[in-house]
Amino acid sequence: MSIVGIRRARNLAVVALATLMTAFALGLLGSVLYTLVGNGIAALSPTLFTESTPPPGSDGGLANAIVGSLIMTGLGLGMALPLGILAGTWLAEIGRGPFADGVRFLNDMLLAAPSIIIGLFIYVVLVVPMRHFSAMAGAAALALIALPIIVRTTEDGLRLVPNPLREAAAALGAPRWVAVVKVSWRAAFQPILTGVLLAVARISGETAPLLFTALNNQFWSTDLNAPMANLPVVIFQFAMSPYADWRDLAWAGAFLITLAVLGLTITARLLTAPRQRTS
């Protein structure tokens, strides 16, 4: 075979392999979604939203877990949001030098930490002294996971704001805080909101940090000082169980969570899309 023939053949082989791998990867990931949607829709029913998790063998729903997840995600976000935005603002607008670099580095470490480690930390500092699992502890764990994401996206978003805007504000005699609140924050609103949405998407699907903080609760409870049901842990426990009706509920829960997470992620992407097109 001529050299050109060998080169063509080799090229064809690699091109075919890459195409095949893409088909394979998309097929696999498609299979994950297909199984999820198939089993999830089959298990959907109105009682899912009205009844609490049942003992094995009887009818029930996921109402307590859905509400628990909403409460803890909301509380976690409520704790992480002000802290994260303020710290991110400080890093972008004010912080210079080794201290800021150090904080940035540690924030990256927190971002990199496996979520189960966050659960360990909250267990040692909140659950052990309180002597029981609680929704508060679960929300704190989720807050710690959302926090570094919000700090990072706030800082990145504010860095996109052109400096002349800040200079203009200063030239008009605006104090620093007015320049930040009315100019920088407003200009960076979209990227910050995107980051917050991604953080919510991330924490609403987190299971590991809730395992030994909020634990689970078979009954309806909105008591923040007691264990609280939540979708991820219910899915985990029910999927691992030998009971068919529990497994069906696990699939329904998995379907709901994926729907919520993908919905949030797509919204976040749509928010940033117009900006990318104009730039």
């Binding site: 095949l20 199984t35 999820l36």
Partner: protein, 313 residues
């Protein structure tokens, strides 16, 4: 805006609040490290470095060794790399060099979205879909082929249980695929078009452009993408917990159940009684923390050098 006496005070208030938030963030992080060390103290004192030298794990007799979990963590992550990284390269090459333009965005977006799917979803899929297939088809086939090779065969021997180290590694491979692919694609796209076009203009084939132009140019970023996938695989908890089987003893066969640090914590932590048991588990957590921070730190550093730092989330 008129300069009023209260403006400087408000300024100080705002700056003070943001500075306080930064300090709070800093102290939280230090608190995490400190707390883990204090929590692990009973085990650290009892065993010292020999903790990671044995796989003896017996809560009844209060004897703990972390080697089984550490090895399981590394072995499953390595399987994920061996299987997942070549596929990720294939998909990224397809997306940047071969894919028809109208399909690039949809396929790229679909893969990015899959990176957002929570790990518990992959876990439940692994338990109900992948594990049965592994048990009925893949593992017997592997035992009949690779299992017959002298030496290597020991890795693929034993009863096909469906769950175990191999299945956990494969689930991890599927989980890291979207994130590694997405970053590889972004890295490949940093290659200036003029380089590609020059190579094509000289008559290079697609493969030659990839091998001689794209890959050398994006070496650093590609290494970062792979390390990022490794970091994810090491710390992944739920997907692994579903399919690994939770056994601390080290077995030669990849078909056998094993455990990883993260899945040990998920399975045993709520049931742990006694300072030494809890301490041993927290020490495992500390080891995992160190490992992932090291790997992901390296990934971030490599990606920062290619100007893709923001992608390393």
């Amino acid at each position: 805006m008129p300069v009023t006496p209260e403006q400087p005070a408000r300024d100080a208030l705002f700056l003070g609040a943001s500075r306080l938030a930064t300090w709070a963030l800093l102290s939280l992080l230090l608190a995490i490290l400190l707390t883990l060390v204090i929590g692990a103290w009973p085990a650290l004192v009892e065993y010292g470095p020999s903790f990671l030298a044995t796989d003896a794990w017996n809560p009844v007799e209060d004897v703990y060794g972390g080697l089984g979990a550490l090895l399981g963590t590394i072995v499953t992550a390595v399987i994920a790399m061996i299987v997942g990284v070549p596929v990720a390269f294939g998909v990224a090459i397809f997306l940047t060099e071969l894919c028809p333009w109208p399909l690039r965005r949809p396929i790229g977006t679909a893969i990015e979205l899959l990176a957002a799917v929570p790990s518990i979803i992959y876990g439940i899929w692994g338990l109900f879909v992948l594990a049965p297939v592994m048990q009925s088809t893949v593992q017997p086939a592997l035992a009949a082929t690779l299992g017959q090779v002298p030496g290597l065969g020991r890795l693929f021997s034993g009863p096909p249980l469906g769950i175990g180290m191999l299945t956990a590694g494969l689930i991890l491979a599927i989980m890291i695929l979207p994130i590694v692919t997405t970053i590889l694609r972004d890295v490949f796209q940093t290659v200036p078009p003029i380089y590609r076009e020059s190579a094509y203009g000289l008559g290079a084939t697609t493969w030659e452009v990839v091998w001689h132009v794209v890959l050398p140019y994006s070496r650093t970023g590609a290494a970062g993408a792979v390390l990022l996938g490794l970091g994810r695989a090491l710390g992944e908890t739920m997907a692994v917990t579903f399919v690994i089987g939770n056994a601390h003893h080290i077995k030669a066969s990849l078909f056998a159940p094993g455990t990883t640090i993260a899945s040990t914590l998920a399975n045993e932590f709520t049931e742990a009684v006694g300072d030494l048991y809890t301490g041993a588990l927290i020490e495992l957590g500390l080891v995992l923390f160190g490992l992932t921070v090291l790997v992901l730190g390296a990934a971030r550093w490599l990606l920062a050098r290619t100007g893709l730092e923001g992608k390393a989330r």
